[in-house]
Symmetry: C2
Subunit: 478 residues, 2 copies
């Protein structure tokens, strides 16, 4: 007799991501009970075996694990477009806007970013922001999986205004204490919330932005609570310069000497990591967050992910921040990662499609310490999956022999907008591109409204005259 | 009294591409009579001035010139996905498939590619293929603008089977003659057809693939007929090797010595061009076709477009072929061009958004010798335009002050799928993403069918054992 399940997905080009490749199953099927996958196999078998409350016919669709974005700063979606094509994106692009963002703007940004990411197939969002009221609630409402990393730093409240390039940042022990307390409040509230859908990490923004004592305190708390650390590492020459001036060491050696380099550290960017430093981090077991799009746009650099993987390291993909990326779309990150590395090494064989697909799914999950729960379609894992229409003019044709074109066409020709339906923890949160958990049109309208308010405030702030893009604006290039 | 026009577009974020920037007009409007633009200005003024048979409300949309793809091989859309991630994409990827393509498959590929390109905003398609029955008719039917370049070469009918790497290609004078005759038949039939919407060029495939005498004959005929030449130039080390062996010269010097280097030559790729060769071509007035996506994937190389432009050269964008790109989408090419060049020069200021937008519109039009007819929204030019929804979660927000985010967000966050409506020569050929001139679902079904037939034929051909992707297939990576 047929067993009952909540959801049955039939007739898919199934990319389970099991094993070492993509785990393809032709005419594949999934059975979901509650929040979990209870069966993965052939449609002919599962259709017989189960009686489902709801059945999704995935004919002409790829079904794959929901994509994993290990590193985002969602609030900055609200200032998308203000910081690219310039030489100092942070100071001369983002900063004059960021100082005029309030909690409402931040929330509008996070929500916009969640909608954008969902519509591009991302089910797990690793969000790294200075906590504001309502942050976690955005994820609770949207129904996606989130790992919240509240930013921790000891920078003085007035910021770094007046500092010359190369001056050592002033560190403010009290600011650090407050920052740590605010972060712990987030962890208290959200770690394991929403039936485990929401988790947390502790996020010292950079080793240059907090004193050693407080950094070690954060690490100790993380260990006690079983949380990972999520830290920008070797993210720029400015950071390295600060570290050398303050400690006489570059960041990776500093981390190693302070026993912070291990598999509980998610190391973000490695933009400026040397070969030796890359090896050191990879061999320590610390996973890497690779943000190809943002580092490409804002720095013109391809981080050392290939070498990191060759040394046995785990690499997940992150879309970083929309002010200088300018999108939060793991389809985009998978494609750019493949292409940028082919160019970096002048070799078309580097980073083939299947490899970046693994980074966007199972490897990303492992990088976040969630590899046992998500990232592949396996019995017992959470039912986080996306249904992607591949019967589109940009992805067709899909042939099976003598070589299968599904994966390269998804990666190199897909845009993310082919994602139709999304299931997170067994619940359908998007169907035929309509998000069921929130009002997309309201999110869009609020984002536009808040961005206009910020724009007005920035226009009235004399600091806007330092915006690097002003000259392009005046030249009629924007 | 209001004058009558056929079409009025109102309330757009208008990117006219007039002048040296993007020619932005807030709340902009266009008036179209017949196939031409008769007015460009403010909505408030044009709405009063004209009475229109049809009015398009472009609120929350960007309206811009239709995109120009200067170099495509549309037939290969039918084998999308068979040639990437390998070291010899042509011999070990495409070739085993290409030999099993018949005219029906070619037509299905062209049609699929036209649909894909239209849905990504391309109104002008520079298509370079070995002519087959029904080729031009695909464009006549679709209603887009095309420049047909029938491939000319003197390679023997049996192809280059049996040749060792480095052997001089055998050139067959009779094959060359037939190829030239077939090309001229296309030009006779299609030059200026469909009220001028279809034009032609003559396309010696490469200077290494036809004898000098026939090459010069083709050039003479092109001059007589007022047609441009469209030639792959310095496209690979194989070509350079052939040229040095045959003529003792690399391609650019050979072209210069034979008086072929001038503004009537569209020079494609320049993958292997040295700095000096890049300068030589740019300064000759010959425009460059830059195919960032395909050369990135198949070669891991960023062609010298930046230097070419600095030397005063004109650069248009091409999507090349889907077997190794793997898409034909000028939004994709604009973004990749900006990013790849930032990485090549390790400088985020290189190739800003507005510059690649010019390459995808007015500069592409100029590269094809059509700069006086298309590529910008100006009175007297053809009404080729696209309406792009920017009220989407991936492109929002759009602010106007203190800097405008429209262009960077379109280029870096747009995917092409935001294009809603397309007008070519004054006629609406796509509305709300529905193509009005042909049945998209039939095109997709036929493409899938033809690709499956090719796949079966290739599977039965012992040559398929040489496919570089076979090992990935066996390893479960596809």
């Amino acid at each position: 007799m047929a067993q009952s399940v909540d959801l049955l997905v039939l007739h898919a080009h199934l990319l389970t991501m099991q094993g070492n490749g993509v785990g393809y199953l032709r005419d594949g099927a999934l059975a979901v009970r509650g929040d979990s996958l209870v069966d993965v196999g052939r449609s002919s078998e599962l259709a017989q075996r189960y009686q489902a409350t709801e059945t999704l016919d995935a004919t002409n669709c790829a079904v794959m694990p929901g994509l994993v974005d290990v590193h985002m700063h969602t609030v900055y979606a609200i200032v998308r477009g203000v910081a690219q094509d310039v030489s100092n994106w942070m100071q001369k692009g983002l900063a004059p806007f960021a100082r005029h963002m309030d909690a409402e703007a931040a929330r509008a940004g996070t929500r916009l970013n969640i909608v954008e990411a969902m519509q591009a197939g991302t089910t797990t969002m690793g969000d790294f922001v200075r906590p504001y009221p309502g942050w976690g609630e955005c994820y609770a409402e949207a129904g996606v999986r989130a790992c919240l990393t509240p930013t921790i730093n000891a920078l003085p409240p007035g910021g770094m205004a007046g500092l010359e390039l190369g001056d050592l940042y002033p560190l403010d022990e009290k600011a650090g204490r407050e920052s740590i307390a605010a972060a712990l409040a987030i962890c208290d509230r959200w770690q394991g919330a929403e039936d485990g859908r929401i988790t947390t990490m502790l996020g010292p923004q950079g080793t240059d932005m907090i004193g050693l004592e407080q950094l070690l305190e954060v690490a100790r708390i993380a260990e006690e609570r079983g949380l990972m650390l999520h830290v920008h590492v070797a993210q720029g020459d400015r950071e390295i310069d600060q570290m050398v001036k303050r400690y006489g060491q570059r960041t990776p050696a500093f981390l190693a000497d302070n026993k912070l380099l291990n598999d509980r550290l998610l190391a973000v960017h490695l933009t400026e990591a040397t070969d030796e430093e890359t090896d050191l981090i990879a061999e320590s077991g610390a996973p890497m967050a690779l943000c190809s799009g943002s580092i490409g746009i804002i720095d013109g650099i391809v981080p050392p992910a290939r070498r990191f993987r060759e040394k046995g390291g785990i690499v997940g993909l992150g879309s970083d921040q929309a002010s200088g990326n300018n999108c939060n779309n793991i389809f985009n990150e998978m494609k750019l990662t493949a292409l940028f590395n082919k160019i970096k090494y002048r070799d078309p064989q580097v980073m083939p499609a299947w490899e970046v697909l693994r980074m966007g799914t199972i490897e990303g999950a492992r990088a976040m310490g969630l590899g046992d729960r998500i990232g592949s379609l396996e019995v017992g894992k959470q039912a986080d999956l996306i249904v992607v229409d591949v019967n589109t003019a940009n992805i067709l044709p899909i042939i099976d022999a003598p070589v299968r074109t599904l994966v390269p066409n998804l990666i190199y020709a897909g845009t993310g907008k082919e994602v139709q339906t999304m299931v997170v923890a067994g619940r359908i949160v998007m169907r035929d591109r309509e998000i069921l958990t929130l009002s997309e049109s309201k999110v869009r309208a609020e984002a536009q409204h808040q961005a206009e308010l910020i724009g007005e405030r920035v226009s009235q702030d004399p600091l806007h005259r330092e915006l690097a893009l002003l000259s392009a604006m005046q030249a009629g290039q924007l």
